[in-house]
Symmetry: C2
Subunit: 161 residues, 2 copies
């Protein structure tokens, strides 16, 4: 992304992140560059002009992990201006899984990924996450129990903070 151009925009820049899960684990990549070099993050990236959020999510996952995925839910939209040190970048977080028709059956670290790791939702505290992805993992854990969006599963007081 051209960051100088981004700074000219009057609005937050939209990205996507995808929680690729199986029964008890979530797929993370280890970032190869700053910000958060070496930290664990969900596969994701910037939405390009002309593509939908869903297309961007699938494209980024393919580039970073070689997997073809299906998207099933939206966990939430994360837009705190302080969540990304590069500027105001907001993310739509999808929940998906590996497509039965995926060309690659196992993830392979690709663009922007130094490594791939399946993380158990019970091991959140043991991992070192980038951006606000630890918070998102906690929301996901709550969602998995409630089967609703992170919004729905929050108390009224939290929603209206």
């Amino acid at each position: 992304m051209n960051m100088s151009k981004q700074d000219e925009c009057n609005n937050p820049i939209p990205t996507v992140d995808t929680i690729i899960h199986n029964d008890s684990q979530v797929l993370f990549i280890k970032r190869v560059k700053d910000p958060f070099e070496g930290k664990m993050v969900f596969p994701g990236g910037f939405i390009k002009k002309g593509e939908t959020a869903e297309e961007a999510a699938k494209r980024e996952v393919k580039e970073e992990t070689s997997l073809d995925i299906e998207l099933d839910h939206i966990l939430g939209v994360y837009s705190d201006p302080a969540r990304d040190p590069r500027g105001h970048i907001m993310s739509t977080v999808f929940i998906g899984n590996i497509s039965p028709n995926s060309h690659s059956k196992e993830p392979i670290a690709g663009d922007g990924a130094a490594a791939i790791k399946w993380v158990s939702i019970e091991d959140i505290e043991q991992e070192d996450f980038g951006f606000d992805h630890k918070k998102i993992m906690k929301d996901y854990k709550e969602w998995k129990q409630s089967k609703q969006t992170s919004w729905s599963s929050r108390s009224k007081s939290k929603i209206n903070e």
Copy 2:
């Protein structure tokens, strides 16, 4: 919004729309300007750099209807590049209701709103909606029956279009 500046951006521009509902009706405003002048739309608008999506939703509803609202759910994220004739503009659609503490108890048409109208979810076909708000109303109707995000309530085949 400065449209010439927007054109310089490499990514879709993020907006919010809010479905303010009671048991059987949804609040619409009649647009005062193009695109879709005179059409019925949800209150909403552009997210400014430095504010969250939730803050933008509440601010826009306040400006356009004078109401203070509470946000409860995210219906979906609508990002079809063709949904807005001004360019690639994507919207996070919240579901909310009038806050019990709202200063104004009834909506009053404000900035960008020629009129206010409560529309019954049974009357979707009788109304003339702007943007993709008819589609969103249909997704809302489906969500209201299933109590899930529009994503969750769609069939697998539709999600992976």
